[in-house]
Structure formats: structure tokens, C-alpha cells
Amino acid sequence: MQINREHINRIFITLGDIMVENKNYLTELDAAIGDGDLGLTMSKGFSELASIVTNIHEEDLGKLLFKLGSNLANTVPSTMGTLMASGLMKAGKALKGNNSFNDEEMAAFFDNFVIGVMERGKGKPGDKTVIDSLYPASESLKESVLEGKDLRLSINEAYKASVDGLESTINMASTHGKAAVFQEKSVGKQDPGATVGKLFIEGFYKVIANL
């Protein structure tokens, strides 16, 4: 399957809708163990990308993703904004020169996205962060693509992996960022950052699974 420019446009428009729909939910989760601005920054950042994506004149999908990333970094320089921006920029750089993505390149997109987030945030799986929903999804997708499964099925499984990953954050203690001051108090609460990660995967899933 080939993911083209039109699909990427739809994915980012869908992501804008998802983040706006979940604005209050993210704010509530974040207020419990963070500073409560996550719903605001994610809805602001991703609806900005949704509004500009169709107007960016760029055939190279790698460059397009890099541009979307740097736009996100400028629109919402909060912790999560910068992390998601770093993922997009890293993935964009890695996939430069492609006007469409095949299955392997989609797997490479998520792989590089997660690496970008981990490098920027100096985090790893198990720290109760956005990585805990992104990493399992990326690993699942990589495996499915290696097995030669249809991308629609692969993205479905990756989405499920992100849902499970998100659930696993409930029993973890925060060690990063503002949430770290709550450490043990954060146990029992779903991580707001990992929720964003799951919603991000959801945007891709909703578009690709229905192609």
C-alpha cells in the first residue's frame, strides 16, 4: 500500500479534530499530575497543523513532515509540543526524498518519530511518558510489516498496542518533567503524555484502516 500526500493531509486534519475533541479530557488528566495546560497546547498545536497542511507546497513528504514539526515547535513550545515536534522533524529528516510512503517507510516513520521523542526528552519506555504508548505501537507496526501483513491490519494492531501501552502507565511512577514531583502520587493515574501518544496513533489508524 502507498500512503500519498492526500492521505497525509487527511491524517493531520483528523489529528486536529481528535486533539480538539479531547481538549478537556487531556486538561483534566494533566491537572492531576502536571500543570494542566496539555489540552490547550495539543488542541492549539494540532489544529494549527490541520489548518496549514493542505496549503504547504511541498511534494517531498519527508520535508513536509519536517515543516509540520517545526511549525508545531513554534506554535506550542510546551514540553509535549516540543516532543511531538522533535518526532516529526526526526522522521521527516529520515524520510526525505519520498513523495509517497510504502509499508516499510511507514514503519520507518514511526520508528524515527519515537527515536526523535526519546532523544529530545532523554526518556525510555517505562518512565510513564508519551513513549509508553508510542513505542509499543511503533514496535508492533515494525513487526507486522516485516511479516508482510496488510498495512490496514498492521495499523489496527499498532493502535491496539498503543492502547495497551497507555493502560500500562496507570501503575507506573513518574520520573520526568513536572509530573516527577508527584512521583508516587502519580501511581494509579493514567499518564497524560501517553494519552497524547495514543491519540496520535489513533489519527493514523482512523485514516489508514479505512483506505
Partner: protein, 333 residues
């Protein structure tokens, strides 16, 4: 609470506009962006020093841009990081051919954005950038986990001393070395008596009840180490000194500089009451106070409370500390 405002959402930008008008001889902005604050006269060949961080802490961070101190500052919304692009614009504007040193507080959002800005400076403009983070708050993480500590008022000493080093035309590696030395020898501890309110939010998102105090509370309301009934000034100073000297021991004959800082709502009288006890205790221990600073250096808007910072000096840092400096918020002959 009562505030003199126009629109809460304009808090940071209208503050900046006022500063540019009041101090147009010394500072300006670049890239048509009020949030990219730079010194007017950039000395050729001197290492540039940039900082940045959220609004709501004046004079931190931009207040130390000026003669003998730092060259530029990117400014975020209240308690929010500026963007990597704003940091990059400041970097380009202050680079005078000798590279740029970033000195900023140890907060996740700021670290990620400054790292990204340093990559942009390297990739797009071939500017060499080095970074040092301020992490002086002893109450924010225990000994052995210094890298997790928050940056508070002690960053003033990094700006002052690294700035003087850059003025002596030291190269980037040496200015960084001096800044790191200050970081390794400076300790701060604070106490909060009342919270602060972010104008756009309009209500406090943490509390310090009437008659209570919170030792070690962060300048954004991060939880401290001990919440209890308000103690006397002397008792508070004793606890602060115990924590600071317990973390970075001093011996008779050592020379230090002391900074007693108001978090915004505590008047100078009370800072002097604190200093009276600080000086007495240090003198009894045979420690010499070479230079004292007292007033508002790193605040949280209207928060009532104070912090005590002690910097252990050596010959080099002492010489650089005593050099003149002049900015819109700080002057020393």
C-alpha cells in the same frame, strides 16, 4: 487578587513593550518579535551569552541582559518556555564570531527547546553553542541527584560571572568552564508564605494557608520539603543555612557572596532581618562575606517569600564577580 492590568493574555508582551520604551538605549528585539530580546551593542569577537525562560520572574531572565553580563534572552509566556526558533533568532543576533553559551534554568521544557535551538544554530548557521543549566535549589533533589535540581536565584551569579569572563575575551570553553564552576559552588533555598496567580488563569493552582509556610517550595509552586506553621526569621535562616551548608560545606577562611532574594511580595526590611542572622552565623563560623546582594533577583510575581543563596568563591570567581556591570535591572560599580 487585585492587579494593574489591561488584558491578562497581554501580560508578557505589554511588560516587554514597557521595558523596550524605558530602556531603548540598552536593549531591543530582533526578527520583529518582542520575545526575542537582545542587547544593543554586541562586542565583536566576544562570546555571546543567551538565556531564556518563562515570564513572571523579573529580573530573571531578561533583566541581566546588558553591559558586563549577558547578551540576549528569549521570553516565553508566564511560566512557559519560549520556542526553539525564538532562541535560535536570539542566538544569531548575539553571535559575534566566538560562539554562544546558553545559561538557563533546569526545567524540562526549556532544556528541550534550547537543545533544539542549539541544533538549529549548528545546522543552519554554523554557530557553535554550548549550554550550562542552573540547578541551585538544594530543596528540589537530594545530594547525589544534583542534576534533577531546579534552577532558581543562583543563576544570577552564573550570568554575572560568565558575563565578566566573556568581557575579558575568554573563549567559549573558558566562559563555559567558569559558568560550570559557579554552578558547582552555588546553593539556594527558598521559603514561600503565599502563592502567586498566573494572570491568564486567574486563580492560584497551589496554596499556602494563612499562618503557614512551605520550605523549599519552587518558584512555580512545586512542592517543597516541609510545610508547617510560620517560624521566625532567625529560625527560617537557620534551617536554610543548615540545608545549604550541609550540601556544600564551608570552612573557616572561606570567602562567599550572599544573595537574599525576595520572591516578589516580601519587602526589603524582612530581607535585611534575614541577612542580619545570615551574616552573624557565617562570621561565627569564620566565613567571610565578600559581597552581599539583597532585593528582587528572581521572583514569582506577587509570591510572598524569600530565598537565600550562597556562592563559595575562589580567586577567579571573586575577581569576575566584583567587575562592574550595568543593565536595566542591575548595576554594580
Amino acid at each position: 487578587m487585585k492587579r494593574i492590568l489591561n488584558k491578562p493574555e497581554n501580560y508578557a508582551d505589554e511588560t516587554l513593550k514597557g521595558i523596550y520604551k524605558a530602556h531603548s538605549d540598552m536593549v531591543t528585539y530582533v526578527n520583529d518579535d518582542l520575545r526575542c530580546y537582545v542587547k544593543k551593542d554586541i562586542k565583536p569577537g566576544r562570546v555571546g551569552i543567551a538565556t531564556g525562560g518563562g515570564s513572571g520572574h523579573l529580573p530573571v531572565f531578561l533583566g541581566y541582559v546588558g553591559e558586563g553580563m549577558i547578551d540576549g534572552c528569549s521570553v516565553g509566556g508566564v511560566f512557559q518556555s519560549p520556542s526553539a526558533n525564538q532562541m535560535f533568532e536570539v542566538t544569531k543576533a548575539i553571535n559575534a564570531g566566538a560562539g554562544v553559551l546558553y545559561i538557563y534554568g533546569n526545567y524540562t521544557g526549556d532544556i528541550m527547546n534550547f537543545d533544539m535551538a542549539a541544533e538549529m544554530a549548528d545546522m543552519e548557521s554554523d554557530i557553535r553553542v554550548e549550554s550550562v543549566v542552573g540547578a541551585d535549589d538544594v530543596a528540589s533533589a537530594k545530594k547525589g541527584e544534583e542534576h534533577k535540581r531546579r534552577g532558581v536565584a543562583g543563576i544570577f551569579y552564573m550570568f554575572k560571572i560568565a558575563g565578566a569572563a566573556a568581557d575579558e575575551m575568554m573563549d567559549l570553553d573558558n566562559v563555559k568552564r567558569v559558568a560550570e564552576k559557579v554552578g558547582a559552588n552555588v546553593r539556594t533555598m527558598g521559603v514561600a508564605l503565599s502563592p502567586c496567580i498566573i494572570p491568564e488563569i486567574g486563580k492560584a493552582n497551589f496554596t499556602v494557608e494563612d499562618g503557614m509556610m512551605e520550605l523549599g517550595m519552587g518558584i512555580h509552586g512545586e512542592p517543597g520539603i516541609d510545610k508547617g506553621p510560620l517560624k521566625t526569621a532567625n529560625e527560617i535562616v537557620e534551617i536554610m543555612l543548615d540545608n545549604i551548608l550541609g550540601d556544600n560545606p564551608l570552612k573557616a577562611g572561606d570567602e562567599v557572596s550572599v544573595l537574599v532574594n525576595s520572591l516578589g511580595g516580601t519587602p526589603k526590611e524582612e530581607l535585611y532581618i534575614m541577612y542580619n542572622k545570615v551574616e552573624e552565623t557565617l562570621t561565627n563560623l569564620g566565613i567571610k562575606v565578600v559581597k552581599t546582594y539583597l532585593g528582587e533577583f528572581a521572583t514569582s510575581m506577587e509570591m510572598v517569600g524569600a530565598s537565600l543563596t550562597i556562592l563559595k568563591l575562589d580567586e577567579e570567581t571573586k575577581r569576575l564577580l566584583l567587575k562592574p556591570a550595568h543593565t536595566p535591572f542591575f548595576s554594580q560599580k
